[in-house]
Symmetry: C2
Subunit: 226 residues, 2 copies
């Protein structure tokens, strides 16, 4: 197997969506963790439902709607300022600690690198810049084609942009729904199982399972020396 | 607005999926409630992902896979007997208490009545019979066309089976994802909001919101007398 391109999912894979917890806790004392969890849960549910019902709206709107629902469900008072403040947190998410170093080490390898996300460019670009990844790899958004991952159309777009064979792409995500879509499409997959979850039973087995992104480096080194 | 057909979703709307809790509690003491909740959560997630990735498998398999995952995630020992036992519970779910009477009262009205479910016929038929609904209304399964709700294709199939206009159908479900799909397709919708949840922000507002199914009767009576 020759891998010619690495694709990385963004939210949950490179960027920790739960780094909004601190801001949420500051704004809504005692509720930071549950806001962060419900917000992410609803965000995923909402883009899946928009995709399933064939009514695309941008991820930025979905993220805001998911936050609004979350605050309503938790009976927390919500004003525009608090909403804006929390939405801004999404432009400043922390990377997981192994991310920057791994991407940097791979920068000059012969493998193309790409972030491919359900996020919109106006969410992704400031974030990638803020976390100093902008020089390291390109960013591609499903917003260009208005089809969310994990639909086959979404992976097809990234595939066409890369111009390599399907099985020459290693697609990495911490989200198993994303692995399911990528593997169904025909990419090689590495599940970055940060949360140490059991394998979902969706008829898909990822080619690799890593605990974190730096295991990709170890894996690459091992293969090169064989 | 003239309504010529009522469509009822099955799981969560007529039948209480959490009536498996007792059996789960008997088999796995202290874990009944969390098994039931995780099982349902995974079941919904799994059929959505199969639909999104265009890889249909029947709901009976999805339900079993979701149960297997649940037991694994909760680190509960699982053998075939326990699995079979819990799967059987799905053929004997309780109806909500207002269901039988409501359906019976509507049986001889001029409105067609249909259960339309993601479940397979071999799950639905024994259940409907067990709960003595088999004489009251017809049952239709998405398994005939292998497209899950809430995809537009799924609602189209039920629509064609009924042979009335889209806006002459009142589609009832407790699952907001189902209301979203039905309303997007063009059915009139009544959200049976048993759990008293806030309205999801998916760009869809149901035509009616009922706390339970018997409110349909009150609504119908009110309209007739106007």
């Amino acid at each position: 197997m020759t891998i010619k391109a690495y694709i990385y999912d963004a939210y949950g894979t490179l960027f920790d969506v739960h780094s909004v917890t601190e801001k949420a806790e500051f704004l809504f004392k005692g509720h930071g963790k549950e806001i962060s969890e419900e917000w992410r849960k609803k965000q995923v549910e909402y883009f899946m439902l928009h995709q399933l019902t064939e009514r695309y709206i941008p991820f930025s709107e979905i993220t805001r709607n998911a936050l609004l629902y979350t605050l309503k469900k938790l009976s927390l008072p919500c004003n525009e300022d608090a909403l804006d403040h929390l939405m801004t947190a999404y432009l400043e998410l922390q990377t997981y600690e192994d991310v920057h170093e791994t991407l940097q080490q791979l920068q000059n390898s012969d493998v193309k690198q790409l972030i491919y996300s359900n996020g919109t460019n106006d969410m992704l670009q400031p974030l990638v810049k803020k976390r100093k990844l902008d020089g390291l790899l390109h960013v591609l958004s499903v917003d260009d084609i208005k089809q969310y991952k994990p639909s086959p159309a979404a992976y097809k777009y990234a595939h066409e942009e890369l111009g390599v064979n399907r099985d020459e792409v290693l697609f990495m995500s911490s989200n198993f729904w994303d692995i399911t879509g990528a593997a169904s499409y025909g990419f090689k997959t590495a599940w970055i199982n940060r949360a140490k979850l059991p394998l979902d039973l969706l008829g898909i087995k990822p080619d690799f399972e890593f605990r974190n992104l730096s295991e990709l480096l170890e894996h690459k080194t091992k293969r090169s020396s064989q």
